[in-house]
């Protein structure tokens, strides 16, 4: 084990990671449940522990706009938001990814209004799914700390240069105190070199970023962005491998749990993976051949990892924490289905919507989902998706 073992609120761990990444600029607007991250960073800057510009702004639209400017001059830039804040940033999300500015952002995932909810689900990030950023999901405090540091290295790699979102579940993660390992500044400095942009705005060498694209070139620009995002995949693996070698904590785009001999598997994203592990243990003890898949990398979408992970499964139970209203239901499930559609042999897929707007999901609910799915085994006609635990 390296570094220092501490008990720490996960939001504070996120801001400590940002401090250790030695950011140059932070522009953020406080919003529940992201607030503690931004408050703590403001304190660190005010107390001189972090030599960075902290730019207070009047909205999230301005926060990310400021970040675009500071990243464009070559500053290592960070912001954080949640829910309505992410929605207010929506326009700028696409601008910074199109301009390939390697900003790192924490999204403390929260439900979207109306009705107003400050609690956790994934409807905020799913509404911004196609913003062209690298998107990573975390399960616990340690992962939040680790991925917040790795995110800078991935985003700023010259083969990538793409903004990166680290998702953490609001309250479920952001407001809990967890045991975790803080690495030494020396280790982080060795791992994360200073950001060296290819292009930066400077009066001595004028250039234009975010210019106009005529119909003759826009499609080519979009294709280039898409390919660049897909091509970040091997670099992400490389960065996680290096972090793993330094710290002993290894990460994969698709994490698996008790998949040996599994005929049915649950698939989750984010902090509920840990509850699902408990549920899998209970079901295994009852003799059900069930395993768990935890999707860590959401963009670029790890098609091959998913295809590999479901080999040998008869059934796959996908749990979504957001609902695409009037459409496909669960966005994660719909993409999993798309990834497997062309496969000659694929598991039967059952889609559940769960844990919306802070609704708790104890292990029994995961057992219930697997139980319901097993009853559908022979059935040809199925509902598009089921919202678990809904009062009829």
């Amino acid at each position: 084990m390296t570094g220092k073992r501490v008990g720490m609120e996960v939001s504070i761990a996120a801001s400590e990671a940002v401090k250790m990444a030695n950011v140059d600029c932070i522009a953020a607007y406080p919003i529940t449940p992201q607030t503690h991250i931004v408050e703590h960073l403001a304190e660190l800057v005010a107390e001189g522990e972090l030599d960075a510009e902290f730019i207070p702004v009047e909205s999230e639209h301005s926060a990310l706009s400021v970040c675009a400017g500071t990243s464009a001059v070559g500053a290592r830039t960070y912001t954080a938001t949640s829910a309505q804040g992410l929605a207010l940033m929506h326009e700028i999300l696409f601008i910074v990814s199109g301009m390939r500015l390697p900003i790192v952002m924490t999204v403390a995932n929260r439900a979207l209004s109306a009705p107003l909810s400050i609690w956790n689900d994934h409807s905020d990030i799913m509404a911004s799914r196609d913003c062209g950023w690298i998107q990573i999901f975390t399960e616990n405090g340690q992962e939040v700390y680790d991925h917040s540091i790795c995110a800078f290295k991935i985003a700023e790699d010259r083969r990538v240069l793409m903004p990166t979102i680290v998702n953490l579940d609001g309250f479920t993660l952001s407001h809990v105190v967890e045991p975790l390992n803080l690495e030494t500044q020396e280790l982080v400095d060795r791992f994360l070199p200073p950001y060296q942009p290819i292009y930066a705005l400077h009066p001595d060498k004028p250039l234009t970023m975010g210019a106009f694209a005529m119909p003759e070139i826009y499609s080519e620009a979009r294709k280039a962005h898409d390919v660049a995002l897909r091509n970040s995949y091997p670099v992400i693996l490389e960065v996680w491998k290096e972090w793993g070698e330094l710290t002993g904590r290894h990460y994969q785009p698709m994490e698996t749990y008790r998949m040996e001999g599994a005929k049915i598997a649950l698939l989750t994203m984010g902090s509920f993976g840990e509850v699902a592990m408990e549920a899998v243990d209970r079901m295994r003890a009852k003799g059900i051949a069930v395993g768990l898949l935890r999707l860590r990398l959401w963009r670029p979408f790890p098609f091959e990892d998913i295809r590999q992970a479901v080999r040998g499964l008869d059934m796959l139970v996908v749990m979504d924490r957001a609902i695409s209203t009037g459409g496909i239901g669960g966005p994660v499930c719909s993409e999993i289905k798309a990834a497997l559609y062309g496969q000659a042999k694929r598991p039967k897929i059952v889609s559940f919507i769960a844990g919306l707007g802070g609704r708790d999901m104890p292990p029994e609910q995961f057992e219930e989902m697997v139980g319901q799915a097993l009853k559908m085994k022979g059935k040809r006609k199925m509902e598009e998706f089921i919202t678990i635990g809904i009062r009829e």
Binding site: G98, Y199, P206, L207, A213, E216, E220, A221, K223, V227
Partner: protein
Amino acid sequence: MAKPIDQYTWKEIPLGCVVTEPGNAREYKTGDWKSQKPVVDTAKCIKCGVCWVFCPDAAIYKNEEGYFLANLNYCKGCGICARECWTGCIKMVEEEK
């Protein structure tokens, strides 16, 4: 620009579509989609330059004889010059292809 924009493949697009050459917009003929163009009757023109003042695209230039004419590579055919002209010497006529 080394070559016309419609000849670039997606692999040749600079990172984030950055433009490294300042002022290269002058290489684009931005007025090629206009449906009308201004035609000046020099017999009526008093060389006052009010069209030059009002042109929103700075597409009007003064020629050697002192007349104000539109550079049709950049003129969008909006007709503001014809509207503002004191003597009515500018007429908008249909573009012919």
